[in-house]
Symmetry: C2
Subunit: 230 residues, 2 copies
């Protein structure tokens, strides 16, 4: 394990909250042993023996994942989201969410996003923007997901590997309440992607037009991220 940087000095000052630590840990825990404790066709579980800086010892398990996945928020025209409704084996029901998939070996994020978009909703995008990387459950899952906004769509279907055709569900970006109220729109990644995409589009809309000082075009893959512009 590599050493971790000290706590972020830019973090806001802490108050002495009751019952909580007055200071951050002296240093990150040391991993004294790792072993594979279970594996299946898809999943590998690693146990890690840890010694924390205060001397406490624990064994934690985590699900190993070599590669990140990508989740795409496709916006058709100015304000129609394209969602897919698909069988979800984990919850054994149909779930509404954004298209997603594993990033193939050697594939870059935006290429993977464009591929999943063509395979799952039948469109390609002239503009793809890497919004943010998120994790699922960092306490016990290693891999993460890159959230990508797709705009300027045009029809360009590609064959996927789904067992049955996916249902594509258009949804007005203005009806966020209706989408969040649906009992089949539950995935935290999709909810985070929805809010982050809307926030990005709102900030892009508010940004100054191309004048040599502001951003040349919102959503361009080479533009600064929204966080860099504010």
């Amino acid at each position: 394990m590599t050493a971790k940087p000290p706590p972020d000095p830019a973090a806001p000052p802490r108050s002495p909250w009751p019952g909580s630590a007055a200071t951050a840990p002296a240093r990150p825990p040391e991993v004294t042993a790792r072993r594979l404790v279970a594996r299946s066709r898809i999943f590998r579980v690693e146990a890690m023996d840890l010694i924390f800086s205060n001397g406490a010892q624990r064994t934690f398990e985590r699900i190993l994942g070599g590669r990140d996945s990508v989740m795409v928020v496709p916006v058709l025209g100015a304000e129609t989201l394209l969602l897919i409704r698909e069988y979800a084996a984990g919850t054994d029901d149909y779930q509404l969410g954004f298209p997603k998939g594993i990033v193939d070996p050697g594939e870059d994020i935006l290429t993977a996003a464009g591929r999943e978009l063509r395979e799952e909703v039948g469109y390609a995008a002239r503009r793809l923007c890497d919004l943010q990387r998120v994790t699922l459950a960092p306490g016990y899952i290693q891999h993460g997901t890159r959230l990508v906004l797709a705009q300027d769509l045009y029809p360009s279907p590609a064959p996927g590997d789904e067992p049955e055709p996916l249902e594509v569900v258009p949804w007005p970006l203005t009806d966020l309440d209706g989408l969040l109220a649906r009992p089949d729109f539950t995935e935290a990644r999709s909810i985070a992607a929805l809010f982050l995409a809307r926030r990005y589009l709102q900030q892009a809309h508010q940004a100054p037009a191309a004048d040599g000082k502001g951003r040349s075009a919102p959503g361009n893959a080479s533009s600064p991220s929204p966080d860099e512009t504010r």
Copy 2:
């Protein structure tokens, strides 16, 4: 497996998107066999053999989880979020996020939320509101997480089982951009919880005051959910 309801008739009408299904599947897939294919101290992996309504056969794996977890968004005063910074074994680094934990057997959601709040940030809440249930990755994880908003806080620490003291990090609710820009605030559940809590607080702020017609108080656990009020 129990039969699934037909597609939601309240869903918006579909257009014939290129390369996608014109209609939803005739019926949900049938599970023809289930077996435990891996287990460790913490995790159990089940393989399910499935036959889809179009005849396609697949074997999917999922991580079984008996109980949901709960994640709490604590708001101190009018606009200070309380976050925790904690070692995350999955990503082997320190992550900033909202307090969370497993709902104990027989424990209700709000009781579990109140307990985790006391153990992890040292406060109790006079108002707890069940915002929404989210899933992590419904394609391969069975369990979900209940997101709970905690308001009207007062000091009331309780001992937890953490290996080292948790760092509590206050954050102004007005500085959403700063929080989302932090490299250690990555968890999709925390990001979803942040946006959903802010949306709830904004809607509660806009709701009419108690007059016998509107809600009596925003955030009360017995009040209708924000989705029911719009």
